[in-house]
């Protein structure tokens, strides 16, 4: 999965599931869009669907500090590479 593909899919998920449209790539989603811990858990489930595999507890723990779209995309690209 290229970075562009990952970005498009995440933007689509943010729009459809969280009503967040075209966020600033580096903006803190929690501060600007009230994206909270419940949303983060839901997003992780969507990322599992996107990758077609279950994430380990360790992989999920690494998402705790993620705040922005760019960080989410980095995370997904890295996971996609790891699962290849």
């Amino acid at each position: 999965m290229t970075r562009e593909q990952a970005r498009d899919r995440i933007l689509s998920i943010l729009s459809e599931s969280f009503e967040i449209e075209n966020p600033d790539p580096d903006a803190d989603l929690r501060a600007q869009h009230m994206f909270d811990s419940i949303d983060a858990i839901e997003l992780l489930a969507s990322i599992e669907d996107l990758l077609g595999r279950e994430l380990s507890q360790e992989e999920k723990q690494r998402a705790v500090d993620i705040r922005s779209l760019n960080q989410i995309v980095d995370y997904v690209v890295e996971l996609a590479g790891a699962g290849r």
Partner: protein, 412 residues
């Protein structure tokens, strides 16, 4: 320290309307909100009772996503009612967030719709069940989901009470909120209850032979409290909310006072968890009168619990007669909307406010031939113009819980 407590706003969603004008008009015209069951392929084929007190009106929930995401249907009802309540109340935003305003709100068991979805995911064999449980599913379905969705949506930081005592949930919310304000623990309380459309509740009462089944083809003719042909309760849905505050606080902000809440009692039968008990009900009524420091002869009207079960109505009539004789008028408001479960105590309190304000007693619907065993009390069988001063609202629940609220027309 005891402070006088007044009701300064109300809001509700119920099978006969949303606004005071609409509901009062339907009560006056004898319009029923009982309708045929909606289709339900899972439970529908097994139910004998085919009627439900249904909210058919579309409701505009213009809540932001961060609020919607933790709500099941029951919390939508609760938050919509409280949204309208706060719009009517005109409280200052600073007061709402001050910690001096609390919430007492409940439902019989959270959101059964969401609970059904969770169990379906676990048991449908279509994938890893536990992994499909959503992050917010518990928040949508937990017992205190109504109360805390209200606090979150409106930023309320005061105490939270979430009674879940089945059919006394709403009356306990008002009663416990009353005590919190009366004794100075909070300056105001948002009190009420909600329950959503749910056929598992129908199934429970159906299995206990407590549901009405004889009027499936004429839903508006049931339930029939105190009537000789009554054959059980009709489950309903809805939400009711009232704002309680100190008399001094209401006066200082120029609020409209709908009524004064002068007493509350809650007791238990101390025995069977299902069977109604005249001694227990009588004791609670007397405790309510003591708490209000009034004599039985001062009560003009009783809003009876009266679910239209064969035994419950007789027991309640006996208890009322033992305390009041045949002096106060008695009306049974579930005859219009069915038994809205947790919400009944709140909705019936609100309907009582309409009667106090308008000077009209709305009669028990479908009371065509009074059961001789219930005939010793003073039934209301058609609308009566009456200058009401003091009114009692009774609610009883599975578990043997009994409550009595006492309201009085506000005299400045």
């Amino acid at each position: 320290m005891e402070r006088r407590v007044v009701i300064t706003a109300e809001a509700c969603i119920c099978p006969i309307g949303r606004s005071a004008e609409q509901i009062a008009d339907n009560l006056l015209r004898g319009v029923s909100g009982v309708r045929p069951l909606r289709e339900d392929p899972v439970l529908g084929p097994y139910l004998h009772s085919r009627v439900f007190g249904t909210v058919d009106e579309p409701i505009e929930y213009d809540f932001a996503r961060q609020h919607r995401k933790t709500m099941g249907p029951v919390s939508y009802y609760a938050c919509q009612a409280v949204k309208e309540l706060l719009e009517r109340a005109g409280l200052e935003p600073d007061f709402i967030r001050s910690g001096r305003l609390g919430v007492a709100f409940g439902s019989i068991h959270g959101s059964p719709t969401v609970q059904r979805e969770v169990y379906s995911k676990l048991l449908d064999g279509e994938g890893p069940g536990p992994k499909r449980i959503g992050a917010a599913d518990y928040l949508k379905s937990m017992v205190h989901t109504t109360a805390v969705n209200i606090t979150r949506m409106f930023g309320i930081t005061g105490r939270v009470i979430s009674s879940c005592t089945a059919c006394t949930t709403g009356s306990q919310s008002i009663g416990f909120g009353y005590e919190a304000v009366k004794y100075g623990l909070q300056d105001a309380m948002i009190c009420g209850a909600a329950d959503e459309y749910d056929l598992t509740t129908v199934a429970v009462f159906d299995n206990l032979l407590a549901c009405s089944t004889a009027f499936n083809d004429e839903p508006h003719r049931t339930p029939r409290p105190f009537d000789a042909r009554r054959d059980g309760l009709v489950v309903g849905e809805g939400a009711g909310a009232v704002l309680l505050e100190t008399l001094d606080g209401a006066r200082s902000r120029g609020a409209t006072i709908l009524a004064e809440l002068i007493g509350f009692a809650c007791g238990n039968n101390g025995g069977d968890l299902i069977l109604p008990n005249a001694e227990g009900v009588e004791a609670t009524i007397r405790a309510g009168l003591d708490n209000a420091r009034i004599a039985p002869g001062e009560v003009d009207l009783v809003s009876a619990h009266a679910t239209a079960t064969r035994m419950g109505d007789v027991v309640e009539a006996q208890a009322m007669h033992a305390v009041y004789g045949d002096r106060p008028w008695v009306t049974a408001l579930k005859s219009y909307v069915g038994h809205t479960m947790s919400a009944c105590g709140a909705l019936e309190t609100i309907f009582t406010l309409y009667m106090l304000e308008r000077g009209i007693i709305y009669p028990t619907l479908n009371l065509e031939e009074v059961d001789p065993r219930c005939a010793m009390i003073r039934h209301v069988r058609e609308p009566i113009e009456a200058e009401l001063d003091t009114v009692a609202v009774q609610s009883f629940a599975f578990g043997g819980v009994n409550t009595c609220l006492l309201l009085r027309r506000f005299a400045p």
